[in-house]
């Protein structure tokens, strides 16, 4: 059975409170924070980008899995904030975990679900025995236009999963739902993404997440009661709860993965970081249903059954350890770190 051999997360240390961002734009911090259900978001340090986040997550995954990196035959990096437009990040990761050179690697783009598309690609390659292990990473240092609603949520973080044949959690099946729905996008060479505001909700996020989730449950003949944790993509705190409710999931099945109030939306990292957080605490035979969402638009849903192996292979670098290790910065430092001050650069 296709299985998760190991995983790793990484969240940068810096945080900015939603209130601090609201202060700059004269908004009511309480109202914004409550509406989005986000208290604070992670901010990449001056010298961090989606590559460095991916490498840290990938190294944590290798350490957790105990896999020889030379046995990783494929690395797929999903992000909407890659450091280079042309030049793969996946090859940098491959070198940094010493998986190269006898392997394949590529960067994938599908807004916030590129990382889960990578998991599916790794599933195919491992199941067909073309490779022994594959690694899929979702990582972002998301951009939000200053003053835009996205600025309150666009955060930084990532997760890496090593897919193989026997591991801590078996992937029972996957189902995808894809349409041409342009709810959020960034044109080539544009610095910030644009979005369709409320159009990103019902016809986009909700439609795709519910369709993929229902599609997978039907395919695997699963009922709500068979599922212990539901991990949807987390653009904010309210969408996951709302979509869960629509699907019939009890709030307590969603809460364990809902870390967006403490770290914000990690975009390509989002659902994968949520899954990692659940795997940190899940017990053998518990079933996790993860559904990603990528604008433009599509969802990948996965049914994951935790195996006995998880008890002897607990991940020491838990998501919570990254969430707890934090340092608050103000908007001025945030603006410097994110190069929002004109002229500020690294070289």
């Amino acid at each position: 059975m296709t299985s998760i051999a190991g995983y790793g997360v990484y969240i940068p240390r810096y945080r900015i409170k939603i209130h601090e961002i609201a202060r700059v734009w004269g908004a009511d911090g309480d109202r914004v924070s409550k509406g989005l259900m986000i208290n604070e978001k992670s901010v990449p340090g001056f010298d961090e980008d989606s590559t460095t986040i991916a490498v840290e997550a990938a190294r944590n995954a290798v350490e957790h899995s105990g896999v020889n990196p030379k046995d990783i035959g494929a690395i797929y990096f999903g992000s909407e904030s890659p450091a280079y437009s042309v030049k793969p990040t996946a090859s940098i990761i491959a070198e940094a975990i010493e998986a190269s050179p006898n392997m394949t690697a590529a960067d994938i783009e599908f807004a916030c679900k590129a990382g889960t598309a990578g998991i599916q690609m790794c599933m195919g390659l491992t199941k067909s025995e073309m490779i022994k292990y594959g690694m899929a990473i979702g990582a972002d240092t998301s951009q939000g236009r200053p003053g835009d609603a996205l600025e309150y949520s666009a955060a930084a973080g990532g997760a890496a999963f090593i897919i193989g044949q026997r591991g801590i959690a078996d992937i029972e099946g996957t189902f995808s739902y894809t349409t041409d729905t342009t709810d959020f996008w960034r044109r080539e060479a544009e610095e910030f993404p644009s979005h369709g505001a409320r159009f990103t909700g019902q016809p986009a996020y909700f439609k795709h997440v519910t369709s993929a989730t229902i599609g997978l449950m039907e395919r695997l003949d699963l009922e709500i009661r068979d599922i212990d944790y539901f991990v949807p993509h987390q653009p904010n705190g309210s969408f996951p709860l709302k979509v869960g409710k629509t699907l019939g999931f009890e709030t307590e099945k969603i809460m364990p993965s809902l870390k967006v109030p403490y770290i914000g939306n990690t975009y390509s990292g989002s659902s994968m970081v949520g899954l990692a957080g659940v795997l940190d605490v899940a017990k053998p035979n518990e079933r996790i249903l993860m559904t990603s969402y990528g604008s433009g638009a599509g969802s990948d849903s996965f049914s994951i059954l935790v195996t006995d192996l998880i008890e002897e292979k607990r991940n020491k670098k838990t998501l919570d350890s990254y969430i707890k290790d934090k340092k608050y910065i103000d908007y001025a430092i945030y603006a410097k770190f994110k190069r929002k001050i004109k002229g500020v650069s690294m070289g």
Binding site: Y14, D47, T51, T52, A83, D325, M346, G347
Partner: protein
């Protein structure tokens, strides 16, 4: 645009990404950065690739407030001479840390970070830096 030092940076990827140095099989000393010849054994030395753990402690440190070209927007930044667990001393930035936390003897470990960017259209050079092992 042609970029300065591209091949030179590329040659150092094993060192900068993964702290690959040398171990002399004759005298047992480990070296980072790698050496071209074992300074103890010279012709009788036998160097082999050795990967350092990245763990160590602060041997000395400073806060740079007047930067070198290209580091202007990072001030103030910490630099440390780190004594690696396996012996050698190495220099790099200590990041994500507050002044009151930094001291000689504090335990550190490596992280993977951007070190330099050759302008907005040039290559990004990644490498090891250190964070406190909290």
């Amino acid at each position: 645009m042609a970029v300065k030092g591209l091949p030179a940076s590329w040659r150092k990827i094993p060192q900068r990404y993964n702290l690959i140095g040398d171990e002399c099989k004759t005298c047992g000393e480990r070296f980072f950065p790698p050496v071209t010849i074992c300074p103890n054994c010279r012709r009788t030395g036998s160097l082999e690739r050795y990967k350092f753990s990245g763990e160590g402690e602060i041997f000395s440190y400073t806060v740079v407030r007047a930067a070198q070209e290209g580091f202007d927007f990072q001030i103030p930044y910490f630099l440390g001479i780190i004594k690696l667990k396996e012996g050698p001393l190495v220099i790099s930035q200590i990041v994500d840390s507050d002044p009151e936390e930094i001291d000689i003897g504090k335990k550190v470990k490596t992280v993977f970070r951007k070190v330099r960017e050759d302008g907005s259209d040039g290559v990004i050079r990644y490498g090891y830096k250190f964070i406190l092992d909290r």
